[in-house]
Symmetry: C2
Subunit: 383 residues, 2 copies
Amino acid sequence: MRIVAIHERTIPLAMAARNASIGFAGMTASALAVHTDARRNGKPLIGLAFDSIGRYGHGGLLRERFIPRLLAAAPDAYDDGNGGIDPRRAWTVAMMDEKPGGHGERSGAVGLIDAALWDLAAKSSDQPLWKRLAPDREDAAIEVYASGGHYRASHDVEALRDEIRRAMAAGHRRFKIKIGGAALADDRRRTEAVLAALEPGMTLAVDGNGTFDRATALHYAEALSGYPLAWLEEPVPPLDFELHREIAEQSAVPIATGENLFSADDARNLLRYGGLRRDRDFLQFDISLSYGIVEYERILECLEAFGWRRERCAPHAGHLFAMQAVAGLELGLAETTTDAQGLFGAVTSGVAVLDGRARLPDAAGTGFEASPVYRQIFDGLVN
Amino acid sequence: MRIVAIHERTIPLAMAARNASIGFAGMTASALAVHTDARRNGKPLIGLAFDSIGRYGHGGLLRERFIPRLLAAAPDAYDDGNGGIDPRRAWTVAMMDEKPGGHGERSGAVGLIDAALWDLAAKSSDQPLWKRLAPDREDAAIEVYASGGHYRASHDVEALRDEIRRAMAAGHRRFKIKIGGAALADDRRRTEAVLAALEPGMTLAVDGNGTFDRATALHYAEALSGYPLAWLEEPVPPLDFELHREIAEQSAVPIATGENLFSADDARNLLRYGGLRRDRDFLQFDISLSYGIVEYERILECLEAFGWRRERCAPHAGHLFAMQAVAGLELGLAETTTDAQGLFGAVTSGVAVLDGRARLPDAAGTGFEASPVYRQIFDGLVN
């Protein structure tokens, strides 16, 4: 199989949302389509990818380096020996003449190519991606949580409560809201308001988005220790492993972190130095933003070497693609959003959630074609 | 002062060179010009920057995020209260709505803007950049070394010897060549050939470009311990701090590293965990690729907190801009190249080197205007 063209475009995700770290008004994401010379079921075989969120689209890097390398490569540089494309070999082609280190941006561009090639590989074998990754797995259901609870300029607590109730009505049992974007007293009020709205067995996590300094992080960890929180997410800057270790030593609250580390190199350092606890903490490396499944498999090897179970993994964002990977790589938990209105949330809005579990679509590949926003994302790239 | 336009373009640096990590045939670099509404000495005041080398140009990211943010900002978001532009305030504008972590690519795009704004600030006060950074410093001379010794397909050792002799004739006394791109026996031959050509007091360093695994790195460190090497550079992958620690524990040879870490976050982790020795090792963070001088000042604060002297800093590449920063920030050593033919090397070819010391030009700013390749780099951006 030969890659004949790769089309990409940048899609605005303009959202009024704000967390403790950034505003999302100018946020973008890339959509990508890898066209091949193959056909399947009477149609051209095309691999699709749509970005994760929070680090902007990757159009410039894709056009400058990664797409040209793949288009310039001879097909036998990436073929799988069986008439298909091997995402692992194609990954090596895309990363040719790239120096080690510096994992950010580039990792998201390559992650899009990786995601499209896994979509393609799954379609080539007429399987959903999760089944392509885990042939022995029978069950397409995964645990999910609904993420949201951003700050609003007015009626913040009422709107927050409404948001959580809507997510509950949509079948969710696990929720996450922001902290750190307001005074601690406000964050307490928000936390208590949501906890009061939960039904038995439902859980709440809170997310500081990596902005607290040492004193604030320790103060928050102490102040929140009285609430039954599922986890405290990114209490401190993502690369301050020493501070992670301190928080983990001083607080029993589970910590979740890793969404702003984008490689096996960085994941290994978190596990080596971060003092995280294998019995309770969560690892949230974003698969698409971290060079895709090919690199994530290296991250999982690293986890294993450090005695971590992959059930502790709850990848950041990543919509359908991440959900497929959670099922296919036997990870613990997938993130979805409470915001089904926005484009990013709408990608998975067609996936039924029941009692906190999502059942992945049966269609071949990642499942974008069945998404209500398929045309909006991929029009112009696939035809 | 108002930024009225920012022009950039990508310049091919096509070189036949290869190190242990990558080939440079497709290497590119960005040139950038920040236009203002101010004039100085009868001419429009324009700030110039030219990329460091090894991580490709940053045109896509500049156009997507960093240039638009600066152009959209009100001048009072970046003014210095004195009619000029404050590079530190402008840095904050450029990094607005950027999440923490993920330091790579973005760090190079922002570094270009930073470099152009420092050039502008120095021109605004009619000073060379080093003097703008260090008003009390009288002397414009800095220690430099000549980097080269890439592998060639034929007559490798003869060509290597000629290259070093040419650099000697150009006034250099410190040299660096590649290792790890050939068998150890070949690397020994190359090392011995250069050492035999050196005059008393001249020094040689070797550079593995971060590709050795643990066993190879330990083997090389042992095998090279008999030579009087100035340093062993990047013996291991840049983010494997534990392996740095092991090498430093087991070998007395000075280690130089850091060129593939691009932030104060990552520099701090190297100092915390890498086991480097303050009395002999070198820190090579690339100023332009690491968000520029504004972030480098944070790196220097971090060094100080860990008891390191800034004389241990020998920034990677970066040509005139890095040389100005070495003088202006009182760092130890600047890197130049043995390859004065290539565009990158030609940027500094007008700077006289005598007895291993370079004397920076007296012109205001970074000094690009006096470079023999000024037109080649900036034509179309400045007029």
